[in-house]
């Protein structure tokens, strides 16, 4: 297990370095100049040059990259003040430390993703198991067609409809907002309820279908039949034997989904006007804000890589044939 962790974490580290280098290069290859944006309407070449100089954009790319990476480890000093390690730089746009901005936005994204995850896993796996257990019946067909309908919907379509129905016309609920759980647990819960459910509905569909088909496949496995031949009851065999095997494909997509969500649930955040990592990413790219873009990219990539390690460890936990190492 330790070997596995060391090996995986070190390879994750290499991947992060590659991603950062790649993002850096892409940024400079893009034909847009961040100085133009910062300079405003009455801009002269000289003014732009001063801005470039201030942002450090006139140094060679390699040097800029080196400064950036060194900052992550050692911290850096900027004209706006000292930036402690891990320093992801200062935003071109807001002059705020990128790390602080991300730490500020992270709780919302974490709340949104993890809350949604609990809902869509419970609903999705539950519906999938029920459909598999009652394969071919009306229940199965209803659940299957419902999941097909929802999986073909989009958050930006469903979101406004739900908002319109529950918030604007009836006033049953308040507009989605984020309050830290430490300040007001109830407000945190009610504020995110609508985004959770809308997001969960769409993910649920996918998990229902996956869990159903994977479960049906497992129920046809020979070892499941053997367990029945030993006299074990149908529910026992269903949960102890078949379910365990059916979790492997689910864990796979769950790892990918969770990693992506933690890196910023862009559509959900935009739809419900919530300021999380996803929104931050969109702002960073539209403003050609190199340090912010780098920061958001690296955080997202870190989540995805970490989820990957967890998924692989989960495989080994579920299936003893999988060896870590």
């Amino acid at each position: 297990m330790l070997r596995f962790l060391i090996r995986r974490l070190s390879s994750a580290f290499v991947i992060l370095i590659l991603i950062s280098a790649f993002t850096f290069l892409i940024f400079f290859a893009a034909p847009r100049d961040p100085a133009v944006l910062a300079c405003g309407k009455n801009c002269t070449e000289a003014a732009k040059d001063i801005i470039r100089d201030n942002l450090g954009l006139n140094d060679p790319i390699a040097q800029q990259y080196w400064e950036f990476m060194r900052g992550i480890v050692m911290g850096r000093d900027f004209s706006v003040g000292r930036c402690d390690a891990p320093c992801l730089g200062v935003s071109f746009n807001t002059d705020l430390m990128v790390w602080d901005t991300i730490v500020d936005r992270l709780p919302l994204t974490l709340s949104l993703s993890l809350g949604g995850l609990v809902i869509f896993l419970t609903l999705g796996l539950g519906a999938g198991l029920m459909a598999a257990a009652k394969k071919g019946t009306v229940t199965d067909k209803t659940l299957s067609s419902m999941s097909l309908v929802f999986s073909s919907m989009q958050i930006y379509f469903l979101g406004p409809i739900v908002l319109g129905a529950l918030v604007f016309s009836s006033g049953i609920m308040e507009s989605p907002r984020y309050v830290p759980i430490t300040e007001d647990p109830l407000g945190w819960f009610t504020g995110l309820l609508i985004p959770w459910f809308v997001m969960a509905l769409i993910f649920t569909a996918q998990y229902t279908r996956m869990s159903r088909s994977s479960m049906i496949e497992q129920l046809q496995e020979e070892h499941v039949r053997t367990a029945r031949a030993k006299g074990m009851s149908r529910p026992y065999v269903f949960f102890r034997y078949a379910w365990r095997g059916s979790l492997i494909p689910i864990v796979t997509i769950l790892g990918m989904d969770l990693g992506a969500l933690l890196g910023g649930a862009i559509v959900t955040e935009m739809t419900f006007s919530l300021a999380g990592i996803g929104r931050l990413a969109v702002d960073a790219v539209t403003n050609i804000d190199l340090p912010l873009t780098m920061g958001v990219m690296l955080i997202g990539a870190t989540f995805i890589l970490m989820c990957n390690v967890v998924v692989d460890a989960a495989y080994a936990y579920i299936d003893p044939r999988v060896r870590l190492g």
Partner: protein, 353 residues
């Protein structure tokens, strides 16, 4: 089957003394293409402590029959009619809870491929302990003792440590031994072994077959042994039933069926198998064509499209009338007893070496 009647037209066996008695069993699956008659009017008896060998090719209904005895068919798509009586208890139409109490306890099954038939997720020990705890109410500790005892019995080296191994840590032969230990853990009266050695190597197969025979002696169980291999049947069975297209076509003691077979299909099986002592220059005599479709079985005798002796019967009997299987030593074929005798002695036996 102690008393073997010589006449082929006697009524179906009464099954008074039989431990397992199957009467006119019919198993049908509904599929998208239509109704599959997997088993179509099958009757047989098995006495305590005896081994019945069931021989047949794929689609002969041999495996379905035995899954039905255990009640492991899918009740939604399968229709089962007829009688299955195990030690005086009727199993067709029995409640699921009743069957669960019998499975793994009074009747147990050994499957073909121990790699897929054992769960990869749980240790060998746990899989052996499960039925024991369920059926005897033993504690975890007692069940573990029992599992180790069973593993010792079937010849797993270092059973005390290997009881905690997972199936993938066992070799093929060891896995099948563990499967046998699992089937025997509650000392069942009936063991159904479905091609238990087909996936194994020949030297391992020999070990496992002997092991089963020795354990049967010790436990006094009855065995239904399903296989396509007549050689294996010859080693294992006291009585043999040959199945074709969901029906029994020949029945008798092992010696009778192997030394003086009476059905053209049995002849075909014997002469399509090369032996270790046969004449190598004699060509094999395969059965032409393919096994019948169970969706749309041939009219009359299901074997007639592949049978080389139809002309001996003459007329259209083979294509219109389905021959019935009599009681005791019998074969379901329109040939007369004399014809069967002469044809076998003159045409088949000389080829078999």
């Amino acid at each position: 089957m102690t008393t073997l009647t010589k006449t082929e037209d006697a009524p179906a066996p009464t099954g008074r003394d039989a431990f397992l008695s199957v009467r006119d069993l019919r198993v049908q699956f509904s599929t998208e293409d239509g109704i599959v008659k997997a088993v179509d009017g099958l009757s047989f008896d098995l006495e305590r402590g005896r081994t019945l060998g069931i021989v047949g090719e794929s689609g002969s209904g041999k495996s379905v029959t035995n899954l039905t005895v255990l009640g492991l068919h899918n009740p939604k798509t399968t229709t089962v009619t007829g009688e299955i009586v195990l030690d005086g208890q009727e199993l067709t139409g029995a409640r699921e809870k009743t069957l669960e109490k019998l499975r793994g306890n009074k009747m147990a099954m050994i499957f073909q491929d121990p790699l897929t038939a054992l769960s990869p997720f749980y240790t060998i020990g746990r899989q052996i302990m499960e039925p024991f705890r369920k059926h005897t109410g033993a504690s975890k500790k007692e069940a573990r003792e029992r599992a180790i005892e069973m593993l010792t019995k079937v010849g797993i080296p270092h059973p005390k440590t290997r009881v905690d191994d997972y199936p993938h840590q066992f070799s093929g032969g060891m896995r099948q031994r563990a499967m046998i230990a699992m089937a025997l853990v509650c000392d069942p009266d009936l063991i159904i072994a479905d091609e238990p050695t087909t996936a194994l190597d020949v030297t391992v197969q020999a070990q496992i077959l002997d092991l089963l025979k020795d354990l049967q002696q010790e436990f006094g169980s009855s065995i239904i042994f399903i296989t396509h291999d007549l050689g294996v049947i010859a080693e294992m069975a006291d009585d043999i039933m040959v199945m074709y297209g969901g029906r029994a076509v020949e029945r008798g003691s092992a010696a009778e069926v192997l030394r003086a077979p009476r059905h053209p299909y049995t002849w075909g099986l014997l002469s399509s198998m090369p032996s270790l002592s046969g004449n190598v220059h004699e060509k094999l005599m395969p059965i032409p064509g393919n096994p019948p479709s169970l969706l749309n079985p041939p009219s009359g005798c299901a074997f007639h499209p592949r049978c080389g002796f139809r002309s001996e019967v003459g007329g259209t009997l083979c294509t219109t009338d389905r021959p019935e299987l009599g009681a005791g030593r019998a074969s379901a074929c329109h040939l007369t007893a004399e014809q069967k005798q002469t044809l076998f002695v003159e045409q088949i036996k000389p080829r078999l070496g």
